[in-house]
Point group: C2
Chain length 230, copies 2
Amino acid sequence: MKFKYVAFDADDTLWVNESYFRETEAHFSELLAAYGDAETITNKLLEIEIRNIELYGYGVKGFILSMIETGISVTNGSLPEAVISKIIELGKELLNKPVVLLDGIEEVLKALQGKGYKLVVATKGDLLDQERKLYRSNIEKYFHHIEVMSDKKEANYLKLLAHLDITPDEFLMIGNSLKSDVLPVLNIGASAVHVPFHTTWIHEEAELEGNPAGFAEIEKVSDLIEAMDL
Amino acid sequence: MKFKYVAFDADDTLWVNESYFRETEAHFSELLAAYGDAETITNKLLEIEIRNIELYGYGVKGFILSMIETGISVTNGSLPEAVISKIIELGKELLNKPVVLLDGIEEVLKALQGKGYKLVVATKGDLLDQERKLYRSNIEKYFHHIEVMSDKKEANYLKLLAHLDITPDEFLMIGNSLKSDVLPVLNIGASAVHVPFHTTWIHEEAELEGNPAGFAEIEKVSDLIEAMDL
């Protein structure tokens, strides 16, 4: 067995996520429709979100704060308080969305666990939010533990390997983001499988050239076991 | 060597924290002075913070959101937008406070590392915020890794032990909160050392009766090595 740990990204790899964010963004734009069209508002939100990541990190709480800041910005300081309350409410609703597993996930986890791999969830976002989703998903039992990472750059993966006491060749990452789940993992000499999801946040977009060692792309997660020969 | 892992709480155990929150709360009350006295405002804030913990978890981002919600509540919906901007600014300042280590911490970490213990930081709060503080503190090098926990109840400590692949008798926790760092740890059969800090958040207050097995209380962290016989 080549890999000691097989790590799964969570949002849009184990369960639906980006679609909920797009839905919330649409509601948010409607709230501010008097101050600009949807594209202008969501572009401003993206700009403020990305600027705030350095300080807030990823996750819903930072997203709510960035929506409030965007509201203040696009209204030039005349944002009605009722809208702020509504933004906070939208954020709380986002934290309470049902967890919808992607097709075939549970079968794959069961098969990998049966083969003796240690499985972990390796995800960005707010810790409590991710733990809650994992708990509600009913697939927590397949995982050794959950690793919430402040970012998914090479340095973060190197820390993760040190923490797990393993070498790069013992680590396989599965995820929907080339930028976060694949490129940095390959760059540190570990392996990665890409499972695209239909919607990707602009900030997560990236490209991979050629077919590097330790990499496989699959269409659906049920192809994973076969692809693990890489 | 009895313990495999020695875990340190972060806020008010490794470095000053509660004092910064109290300072921010004082500024926040001043901003809302037209709507109530400081006690009324901070009581309302505490009530909203505690209600939101279930959804937001611990940490500065949730604290900012709770301050905004408190502002809306105490002004009955007439909170000036300038105050909301100021609250967001206070929150960002809180995330950028200098990290001030408590006396004697580095010497103790160095001594424990020299004795071959694996040291971890086990803390609540926002992941990125705690990682940043650890990085800025210059004591990151003594720690095997940082564990940010969504809460510090018995179930959370049991998960932590499973994650570290150790039994309760191999785990020692050091911290300033009887409620979070001591009682749940003793309840699962592990050991704990209490190092009180001069200021404790009301939500963290608790009492310990008698002198149970596996427990020691010390006045300053430099007494730790001696106390580790427990």
